[in-house]
Point group: C3
Chain length 317, copies 3
Amino acid sequence: MKNFTCVKDLGDLQVALKEAFEIKKDRYQFCELGKNKTLLMIFFNSSLRTRLSTQKAAMNLGMNTMVLDVNQGAWKLETERGVIMDGDKPEHLLEAVPVMGCYCDIIGVRSFARFENKEEDYNEMILNQFIKYSGRPVFSMEAATRHPLQSFADLITIEEYKKTARPKVVLTWAPHPKALPQAVPNSFAEWMNAADYEFVITHPEGYELDPQFVGNAKVEYDQKKAFKGADFVYAKNWAAYADPNYGQILSLDRSWTVDEDKMALTNNAYFMHCLPVRRNMIVTDDVIESPQSIVIQEAANREISAQAVLKRMLENL
Amino acid sequence: MKNFTCVKDLGDLQVALKEAFEIKKDRYQFCELGKNKTLLMIFFNSSLRTRLSTQKAAMNLGMNTMVLDVNQGAWKLETERGVIMDGDKPEHLLEAVPVMGCYCDIIGVRSFARFENKEEDYNEMILNQFIKYSGRPVFSMEAATRHPLQSFADLITIEEYKKTARPKVVLTWAPHPKALPQAVPNSFAEWMNAADYEFVITHPEGYELDPQFVGNAKVEYDQKKAFKGADFVYAKNWAAYADPNYGQILSLDRSWTVDEDKMALTNNAYFMHCLPVRRNMIVTDDVIESPQSIVIQEAANREISAQAVLKRMLENL
Amino acid sequence: MKNFTCVKDLGDLQVALKEAFEIKKDRYQFCELGKNKTLLMIFFNSSLRTRLSTQKAAMNLGMNTMVLDVNQGAWKLETERGVIMDGDKPEHLLEAVPVMGCYCDIIGVRSFARFENKEEDYNEMILNQFIKYSGRPVFSMEAATRHPLQSFADLITIEEYKKTARPKVVLTWAPHPKALPQAVPNSFAEWMNAADYEFVITHPEGYELDPQFVGNAKVEYDQKKAFKGADFVYAKNWAAYADPNYGQILSLDRSWTVDEDKMALTNNAYFMHCLPVRRNMIVTDDVIESPQSIVIQEAANREISAQAVLKRMLENL
């Protein structure tokens, strides 16, 4: 595996899961693999879980790590040719990106959708520039359209807790006061489709995700219907994808908040969320504090997914 | 030792001091102890000495370190249940804190008194939330009411320089243009009482510290009387503790500045301060530059106190 | 070598180059040298290449690294004696600097010219305070008047690409929208003089550099004449040095931009720049993207120059 930006990069998911569980048994057993290898983590957006879990994963493998925090929007790179650079952009990406590649062996990049230009977001401009110009293997630490380290951790968690071979997994939209990217739901949908679970997406009308991610999922606009018989409920907010509302909040309807009444419709489902989560918007206190809530275990698996990915990338150097 | 927040956690001080001096002889002799162990340092307030000395101590022990700078006040965690989180707090501490615990073995926390609510400050709300919810051993890198790594370094320094078994140690208030927490003087008092030195606290009326920290110390309102025969003078500013003036500046009286005339009253005392220090407010240039000033040696011992604490915590994992 | 602030500190350049090429062959061969040694990197100005390359170099040598970002201008240290410190400066350098030295073995400092006071800039006040008061070996990660790690990397690069024993090297001024320090051109001139190449400096009138750096270089005000027969063209902007224009922009004349027509006058010269570079101000897209452009290779050598310097300093501890 050279780059890691989506589920396809992992190849056979069963093999990848086996490697992940092997790592989880003893996360220090491969600590020689990363010796004299350096991970550069570049954050165009702030991070807590992703930074800590990825850095921890790299250190488990014996890697050196360097973190570069690019102030949100403050580091403006010119991307066009022919521009007379006498304005606020001090550097061209064609110099900046290869130079960063000089000082490391693997690059992780976090760069969210900006909701300014849908095409630019969905073309993953920044991530792809690193892949094209850095000269190094690159992995996503959440990009504009996907968050594959999160989705891989989600998959690991479901495999750990599932009671049937092919559980019913429900991705449900829930309200949130700010407009959030579709990276997590897109990516989760992509991975659930690849894992071949029974997969249902439920959201208010207008919140349809990009069809390339929805894939074979069943889309159900009635949240209660969707929850029936669910083994896992995965809650997440996202802003609208479809034109002309791209990046807009269409609803703050708290009747979509996941509560005990709705969870009672499920097959004693586990509750999941990528965190951070706004309580009593996305989910009630009672549900997230219940024994069926596995949000902390899910977050803990971020270290495992990152380590499995880094291990593959190190082996491929 | 599981957590480290105050002098009691160390147990027998003579044993702890012996361990500290053992470390100081060769600070790399325990570099295998921290192998594959990760320290997460969380700063709710900025830091220079504490961050560098603690990180250095952890690296001396072979630990990996991660630093999380929480912009002052910018990371607002919800702490109540039942709140509809549609405002400026994006995360509840009941998710945030356990997740941070997932990615490390030991957590250091710095969180100052805010002077907004005396009860909240003196209950050590933030530090205690980490102890209660992180699932990891926690130590204070200066909390609202105590700065035990500083006090331990102070104790080590006094033991190195003292010329009698039971020296006279004077903690003196001195003026400062900003309102400062009582963490350092509280903690120093607690440790001096525990060390059973002859201990005197001197300050203008109105600056009385919390009696639980004053303990058996003699409180003397006449600074010159207090200095007589002192072996160590420990200067520090703090804002008022007693109601209704909690967190207020009551005096900027520079007649309390430590100068050569006052030091001449002592038993050729050593001068100490936790740094940073404002010259000619707290202490004159002449005194802090004199051979009796041991502020740099005291700061250097911050690495030793942190390493002794981390060593204990690692041994207890 | 104790400190490293200018070319003289390296001694015989041929020996230093030999060491650098030895490192480049296998940059991990000295990974035991830095064991239990800590590098503290202090940035008074922001950095990308310097921080990453120096940190990487230190890790290649097995060192621990700590980074201290001093917000631009935000950390104000008092430097005078006798001042009553009741204002915005919370600490005196005579405490701050020695304490930083306590927690590390080697200190790297970045501190640019501020263009507020020419004498202060050219006296290298901040860098020299660290040398004088930190108690540790200190190296420059770009100071007010020199950028020796850059110049050493430049020298390494020229040695790698030169086709004759004594190539013709041309340092050319080029326009830039902001006033930039003279550290890079000063330092480059100093190193080129020391390397005894055929060295020409070209710039508009008024942009004369400090004669102590110009040394034996030929100064040519006609850029095209200067370029004739050049083997290396090193472009860089700088603000005026000579009084009364110190720190001022005297020209934005884009006829000084390095383009293909001018490069055609050279002996098929290589194009160099320290980066970041503003395209179509300093150099056209065509030139910087041409096969003769070695700006990325030059940047990559920053790791090598830093490692050669750190290796020397470690050997001298």
